[in-house]
Each structure stands twice: as structure tokens, then as C-alpha cells.
Amino acid sequence: MITPVLQIENLTVAYRRGGEWLEAVRDVSFHVHAGETFGVVGESGSGKTTLALAAMRYLGENGAVKAGRITLAGRDLLALSPVEMEPVWGKQIALVPQNPQSSLNPSMLIGEQLAEVLRHQFAMDAVEANRQALDWFERVHMPDPDRVANSYPHQVSAGMQQRVLIATALCTEPQLLILDEPTSNLDVTTQAVILDLVRELIRGRQTAVLYVTHNLGVVAQVCDRVGVLYAGEFVEQASTRELFSQPLHPYTQGLLASVPLLGETKEKIHLWAIPGQIPPLGKLPGGCVFRPRCGLAVQICETQPPLYVSGLKRVSRCHRWEEIQKGEVGDWRVPTVSKVSAPGEDERRRLVLNLDALHVDYPQRPSLKEMLRHRPARKVSAVRGVSLAIPQGRTVGLVGESGSGKTSLARAIMGLTISSAGSMELLEIPLPASLSQRDLATLRHLQMMFQNPEEALNPFLTVGETLRRPLIILLGKSRAEADREVADLLQAVRLPASYAARLPGQLSGGELQRIAIARAFASNPALLICDEPVSALDVSVQAAILNLLLELQAESGSSLLLISHDLAAVGYLADEIAVIYLGSLMEVAQATDLFQTPYHPYTEALLSAIPLIDPTAEQRPIRLAGDIPSPTETPTGCPFHTRCPRFLGEICQKETPPWREVKATSKRYYCHIPEDDLRAVQERLPVFGQPLTG
């Protein structure tokens, strides 16, 4: 048994908060061999980052290792003093951090930040170090390495910054590489490129890799073995293939069931949501830590389960793992029972919202030169002529990456940002561009939900006061009536009536979002816009919120505009989906049709970039070159032509493409390539595997 590079046994780490010690990680053991990629999956608060930092011996002042051993290539790290750790940090361990923007020194040239490591670790002279640095930039496929080396971090895109950090980490050929959520802040297309790079660099080396993330898809595509972390404890460890095909712990099964697979619409399956939420640090239930949320909890579960060996190099911390293995209990993927929303019989259903060539521009502060030569001030056009119709009672999804203008569109509809051109109609009545010009009746029919639950509620007002306000102002109810209705609203979002007296500070992210939903539905609006409703929440809580939105929409009959970067979640919830890129729509189709060929090249790239949860599925890699162009100089002709893998040439650059109808489906797409050519090319190689059957 060759000694593993990283060996962690019975590790317990605790943080001091206000005098008492709270255990973030309890009795964790695992090891990583050279050349092996071990994934640690867990939601926020599960202690995965603490584990990564503990492995590097870089806990903050108030964190300390209470028990256990950490050995790196046979050497006990806990015995070393910080000064002795310096060479270890330099040569043997390396970290790729989560948010690249703030992990580079803002006032130092990028090239220098890499060269200084080479100079220090290998005693290179300046010239040699700079040459090597440029060489490493080549290896991480950095476009135009010279320019990047001589520019500052704020002048390059997030993707490029992450490449610099990867180069910095690998340039000293460390024995152990730790990646802490390296791509969670990146767009899905950029993430795909970075993941390819990581896989390529690891394959050639004997480096042991510890990959920490909350994204199941990424783990499936990158890691060899996986450990599932819940509330500071490993509940399961297995090879990636075994874990995804046959999870042996209720929490893992619940996770896999609560994440919508690409292509699964609400007609096909009903997402399983794990009830309750993650226990706060320091208040753990007795016995099995997952007991309060577990569907299979029985009497024995009150005793702390050990890590049962459930297979070759496989463990599971569940008393009933054998029953799960035999398939007797616990399968949550349940096909949809009832038709959630009856598709509209009369096709010419009333349109709740109709956008006609909507434009949103932000004027740039003109520089003195421009003022003198009175050139028109440059402007950032975030939304360029979007036309969209949302029928009564239907859910329309709007999918796009950051910088695609989806939030600007939402704010323009709500009147928070004033649209510069185009018209809007709400319930077939013209909608004034600015919020201040709209009367209460219009406001009542148009509500919005925000992304960050922490900022959705005023921390100084109780939940009751927040919910009471729309009832009084928009629906003109009296104080007493409003108070009574608050209880009903709370009940509708599955929260006890006693929450009315609570302050937002005392609630979890999931609960806050539920109250935000209650507030939005309070005035029974015709249209509710949700801007990234679940992206700020943990995976296990997302499913519950998506299902809640589904049920409330069905009950109230209002229509929903769901805005997100997560194509899978939108695919599950929306009836119709529109894909937006650089302020213009690329493709609009019914949910089911969107996942059938022919795809607009951008949609195709999106689909191939999303990491699938099935490790066995193959995906044809289609990668977009360069970065999203800056909104001030928008490309002529087709906006996507600068990065389109199916670039035809002159025609894409010069002429704006027509909208093409796909026969026998509801799909329309915005591209010069005719339908048949597209279908021919795309059908030979499926861009993403078929969804997990059964």
C-alpha cells in the first residue's frame, strides 16, 4: 500500500465565537494518492472550506485543530511552526482559491506575481523567471501572454485571472493541489474551459488533487473518488461512478434527486426536496446528524452511526445502508403525477406581458474631449431590441450568462431602470417606462423577487410588518384584515404563523426566500419576475423553493418570468425558454423543444458546457474562444459572430441574421445557418448525453 500524499485521520476543527468553541469539522478521515483527484462535496456550512484550509494549515486566528493528524507525504504538518510551513506552502502544497478577482494583488503586475514565486522558490534570476512565467501562461492557454503579463488584475477577465492563479499554483510542481470552488464564480462557458484546463494539467502529473465544491456536475466530470460532507461529517465516500449510480446514504440520494437534470421538464419528473434545513454550527441533533431530515429515520438512528465499509474502498455512515443497496427502500425520483399546469387550450390566450423591441442603454459620462468635439456620448447598450410575450398563467424562462443583459431587462420591465426605446404592455395596457409614472393598480399586477435573500427584507422590520404592507397599500385592506391574511400567506409558503413576530436576522436563507415569495404573491400579481431566485441558496433548499414557486403559480394563475444562468433549473420550471446573449435573444422555444436539435450555436455551446451529473455520459466539448465583448463596442451583424464555433464568415459579420421558424415545433432562432444544415451537423454527434432513465 504505497503511502498516500495526503493522509487525514479523525480530524476535528473548531472555531471560537464569543468565547465558546464551535466544531465545524468532526472526526473526518480520508486520504488522497498521487495522481488521484479526491472530490469533497458539501453545501455551505458543511465545513468543506474549513477542511481544505485545515489541510493547508492556514486556519484564521480563531480557528484551531482540536484532534486528529494531517500528514503530507509522511510528514506530520501539525507539528510544524508557521516558519517551517513556509517551504511546505511554497513547494509541496498549492491552493487555487474561489474568487480570482480579489485573490490577486490589485497594484502589482500579473507577470510579476508569478515570477516572484519562481525567483523565490528556484532562486532564478529576473530574466529567467519572467521567461518561465510567460512559458507557464502559454501552458494555461492564456491569450496574448505578453499583454497579460504586463497588465494589472483589473484589466483582465475573471477567467484569465483564474488561469494566472492555476499557473501560480502549479509552477512549483506541488505534491498536493487543493482547489476550493475554483469555478463557482465563473460563467458556465468559462467554467467549462477552466475545468478542461484543470483536467489536462492534472493528467500529465502525479499531483494529488483535493477538489472542494458544492456542484455535483463538476464532481462527476473531474473527480476519481468523492466524499460527501454534511454538517461537518463525511456521510459517504466512494468512487465517482459507484456514488452516482448507486448512492448508499439518504442525504446523497436526496441531493441527487433534488437537482434537476438537463432536459428534464416539470412534465416529466417532480423534484424531490429534502425537508428542513442544515443545522446551525453548534446545535447538532443527537445520533445521526441527518436524522431530522431523513425519510428513512428509525429508532436505531438515534445512536451515532459509524462509517460502515460498504464496498471496495467505500464507506457509508447510515445504519440502513444494506437495505438501500438492495434497493428495498429510498428512491425519490418520482414521475410527475398530476399535470401541474394545463397547457393553454385556446391558443390565443390573453398576453400578460408583451415586449416589443425593448432597448436599455446606460449613458457613459462623456470625457472632456468628447464634450469639446460634441461627439455623441458613448453608451452601454445592455438590452438591444428584445421582443417577448408572456401568456396568462405560463412560466417563461430567460437564460443567459453574466453581462447578457437579463437583469437589465427585468429592471426595465419593473421600471427601476428606464428603457430607452421599444414599448411594453401589461395585460394589453401600455406600461409606462418609469416606475414613478405607474399607478397602484399597475404595481399590484407586477411584482419582483430578488436574488440575495439577505437583502430582500428590511432587517429592522418584523416579518409581519413586511408582509402587511402590500396588503394595505396595494389591496387597500385594513390593518386587522391584513394581520389575519399574513397568517394565511405564511401558511401558503409552509412557514408557521408564529414567524410573523420574528426579525429577518433570525431566519435562514431558505426561510427568507419563502417570505420574499409570500410578499410577492401577497398582491396576487398577474406577473411575477424572479431574478435568480435560487442561485444564492444551497442545493437541498433550491428544490423546495422551485416546487413552492410551481405550486403557488398554479394556485394563483399568475404568470412567471424566471431569469437565471442555470439552464437545468429553468428547463425544469419553465414552459417556454428564451436564450439571451449580449442583449439580444438567440433562441426561443417550448421547454421540451429547446433540448432537441437544431440548436442555435450559442445554445449548443451552453448545453455542451454544463457539467452533467452522470459521469458516464459523454459530451462533445464545444468551447467559446475569448471573452464576452465589452458592451460599449457591440459587434456588428450577429452579436455572437466574434465567438461562434460555426462562424460562416463575411455574412455573420456584416448582416444581422433573420429569425428562422423550425418546422413542426415552436422553436425560433436567430442565425444565418438554415435549419436543415444545422440539424444535419448536430445530429451526428449528440452535444449532451440522454438524461438518466428511470
Binding site: L435, M448, F450, E455, N458, E465, R469, I473, L503
Partner: protein, 294 residues
């Protein structure tokens, strides 16, 4: 110096505010430094309020026979060249300087809060115009502006208060404006706008609670700087009329005979320093308590 705010809110809210203020004070006394500072500030506040009761003599009461005596049981801080009891003048001086600076600082904070809220929330040309004007006022160092103003509108307590307001309102406005700008873009403010909340209620129910902690810290800071300014003006003999027991003026008068009557100089000078240090420590404590509360 506590900013007493008469907020008529539902009982629930009063309870919350009560608890919030209580924990504020608890935190103030948590750290040793701010504990000392708060105690000093409260003691001097007490002296200012109970001034006439404590002071054995009037602020200008002259006992010709007792002139120029060192500190004794009868005159704790000794007497000055005109035979006035230094201890009484320091105590009554406390009232005069604390009330003057307190009033000035309070008015500056109130007007600063209002202007800050207005320009922060409304933005547009009001914000631009106000900020440019305040920039020009801030270009004049505080004491310079005070000297020129006092030199012109004449020496009276009213003019000193006016100077404090003119000198410090721009600074408070800037602080409040930055808080408003950061809160204005938060989700719940926009949600309130989307639900038809009126402008006024939006400003005072949604945004103002966030401004309050920063305002309290700024108020304490302005209060200590105001004392600093009033004392300095007193020393320069501007803005205050003898026999006003302004500590700065007492130091200036005592300076001529510092060799024979050193106590007439050291006690007022000591008083000034201790009060300012006390209020500074309190302001520092407030800032830490507020940051911890976040």
C-alpha cells in the same frame, strides 16, 4: 452624548429599539477604553447639568481679599488674579462649553442628516450642487472659517454655535450621504418602491434606521471637535466675551501670570483635555459597538 430620538413606532418596535440601545450600552462598557471614555463623558455631562449647584461661587463673583491664592480647602482650585474661584469657573465653564458645543454639534448632525438623506436619495442636480458647494466650504480649514465668520458676525454665543453648524454640517452630510447611497441599492428598498411605498415613509422607515448608528458615531466625533474648536476660539479671544468662563479664554488670561498663579492655567487646560479625550474614547467605543452590531 446620546442622540435621543423620539421615534413613535408600534410597541413591538419600541421593544426592539429598547433592547438594541441596551445592548449598545453594554457593548460600550465592554472594552476598557470606551468604558473610561463613557464614564468621563457622563461625569462632565452631570457637571454641566448640575453646574450651579456644585459651584460654591458665581462665575464672576469676586472676593477681593481672596485674590491670587493657591488651591486650598476653601478654594479647591485656588483663585485667579481678580479673586474669582477657579473651581467654580471651571465647573460653570463646563456647562457653557458643553452646552455650546453640544448644541452646535446637534444642529450640525440634524441638518447634516437631513441634507445627507436628501442628496443621497434624490441624487441629480441637488446632489451635485450641494456637494460642490460643500467642497468649497471644506476647502477652508475649520478654524480659518470660524475666525473669518466670528470676526465678521461679531462675538456672541449665537455666532459660535452658527460657526460650528456651518463648519461641521458638510462633513456630517457627506457621511450620511454615503450610507444612504449604499442602502438605496439594497433589495428591500427597491421592493418597497415596487409596492408603492411613499417617498417620505421610504426614507424614514427603510433607510433612516441604517443611518442612525453612523450618525451617533459622527455626532460624538463632531461633539469632541466642537469642544476643541470652542476652546481654541476662546484661547484666541474670538467669539467669546469675558467674564465668560470659557476654558480657552481662562487659559489665555491665566497665561500672563503663569509663574505666580500656575493653578489658574493648569486646571482649565486639564479640564479641556480630559473632556476631549473622554468624548474621543466614547466616539471610538461607539464605532466599535456599531461595527460589532453589524
Amino acid at each position: 452624548m446620546t442622540v435621543t430620538l423620539k421615534v413613535s413606532r408600534a410597541p413591538g418596535a419600541a421593544l426592539i429599539w429598547g433592547r438594541r440601545l441596551a445592548c449598545f450600552f453594554k457593548r460600550l462598557y465592554a472594552k476598557p477604553l470606551s468604558a473610561i471614555g463613557t464614564t468621563i463623558s457622563l461625569i462632565f455631562l452631570l457637571i454641566a447639568l448640575a453646574g450651579p449647584l456644585i459651584a460654591p461661587y458665581g462665575e464672576n463673583e469676586i472676593v477681593a481679599s481672596d485674590a491670587r491664592q493657591p488651591p486650598s480647602t476653601q478654594h479647591w482650585f485656588g483663585t485667579d488674579n481678580l479673586g474669582r474661584d477657579v473651581f467654580s469657573r471651571v465647573v460653570l465653564g463646563a456647562r457653557q462649553i458643553l452646552v455650546l458645543s453640544g448644541l452646535g454639534a446637534f444642529l450640525a448632525v440634524v441638518s447634516g442628516a437631513f441634507l445627507g438623506l436628501l442628496s443621497g436619495y434624490r441624487g441629480g442636480w441637488i446632489d451635485e450642487g450641494l456637494m460642490r458647494f460643500f467642497d468649497s466650504l471644506l476647502a477652508l480649514p475649520a478654524l480659518l472659517l470660524a475666525l473669518v465668520l466670528l470676526g465678521t458676525i461679531g462675538h456672541s454665543t449665537f455666532s459660535v454655535v452658527l460657526v460650528i453648524v456651518i463648519v461641521y454640517t458638510p462633513i456630517v452630510t457627506r457621511v450620511v450621504r454615503s450610507v444612504v447611497l449604499s442602502v438605496k441599492s439594497k433589495g428591500f428598498v427597491e421592493a418597497a418602491r415596487l409596492q408603492g411605498e411613499s417617498q417620505a415613509r421610504l426614507l424614514f422607515r427603510e433607510i433612516f434606521p441604517f443611518v442612525l448608528p453612523a450618525l451617533a458615531v459622527e455626532a460624538a466625533l463632531r461633539f469632541s471637535y466642537a469642544i476643541f474648536l470652542v476652546a481654541s476660539l476662546g484661547f484666541l479671544g474670538v467669539g467669546v466675551q469675558p467674564p465668560n468662563p470659557n476654558w480657552g479664554l481662562m487659559v489665555k488670561e491665566a497665561r500672563n501670570y503663569v509663574d505666580q498663579l500656575p493653578w489658574a492655567l493648569y486646571f482649565p487646560a486639564g479640564a479641556i483635555s480630559i473632556v476631549i479625550i473622554g468624548v474621543n474614547l466614547t466616539a471610538d467605543g461607539l464605532k466599535r459597538a456599531w461595527q460589532a452590531a453589524d
